[in-house]
């Protein structure tokens, strides 16, 4: 583990996997965050885009804010969702970029990938695909993306700088990063930062 990182990145990744595997398979369970349509409504997503999705495509959504709120995606854009979960933000993006655009969702959990692929098939979206990977090593060529989106993922990375550098790599010059994440107004004690159990609590 790097001396500069508060926790071991691999151990943290396993903890995150455990938590979000549960969100994939038991979306209506008790969590410290909102999920599904309740979360989408609370975070201000466009109801017209959400309402047309089947429950399967929405129920495991666990985002923390709306990455589309500062600027809508444009028709024809190529988008990467780093940490795509069950695919909710990808399905929003796929509707916005249209048939001339392309959306690649990247997630490390097989349960999430399986669910997102099934939902894409059900939605008959042929401009979206899902690939296995992690935000620190996105399986997309250099300079491919017009836009990288992410929602509630970077805060769960021990090495945020590495994640940002990887996003930078896949963005084309002139491309943009639109992500949603949490931030704290009061400092969290260093003892809590070193406690992996609290990162996903």
């Amino acid at each position: 583990m790097s001396a500069e990182l508060p926790v071991d990145p691999v151990a943290l990744r396993e903890e995150v996997k455990s938590k979000y595997r549960e969100v994939a398979t038991n979306p209506h369970g008790e969590y410290h965050f909102h999920t599904g349509r309740m979360a989408a409504k609370k975070l201000g997503y466009d109801a017209a885009l959400v309402d047309r999705m089947p429950d399967q495509a929405v129920e495991s959504f666990a985002g923390v804010a709306n990455p589309f709120s500062l600027r809508p995606l444009q028709k024809g854009e190529k988008v990467v969702d780093a940490g795509s979960g069950a695919g909710f933000d990808c399905f929003i993006a796929a509707q916005l970029v249209g048939s001339t655009g392309r959306v690649v969702g990247v997630d490390m959990l097989s349960e999430m990938l399986e669910k997102s692929r099934a939902s894409a098939k059900r939605l008959e979206l042929d401009n979206v695909e899902f690939r296995e990977g992690i935000i620190e090593k996105i399986p997309v060529p250099d300079g491919w993306a017009d836009v990288v989106i992410s929602n509630g993922v970077i805060n769960l990375c021990a090495d945020k700088k590495q994640a940002m550098q990887e996003i930078w790599r896949v963005l084309k010059p002139g491309g943009r990063l639109q992500f949603a994440d949490i931030a704290n107004g009061k400092p969290v004690p260093s003892s809590a930062l070193r406690n992996i159990d609290l990162w996903t609590a």
């Binding site: 609370k42 700088k161 940002m164 943009r176 639109q178 009061k186």
Partner: protein, 44 residues
Amino acid sequence: MMEEIGFVDVQVGAPADTFGGASGEKNARKFEVYGYPFMGHKPK
């Protein structure tokens, strides 16, 4: 950190009460945790 990497025209949107009404609300209030949208551009 975004600017350190090289992103320009960085914007932060309005906060969302991400944990309000959820079981994580107590801790979120304690540390003033909110969700935010962020945007930055990679220069041409």
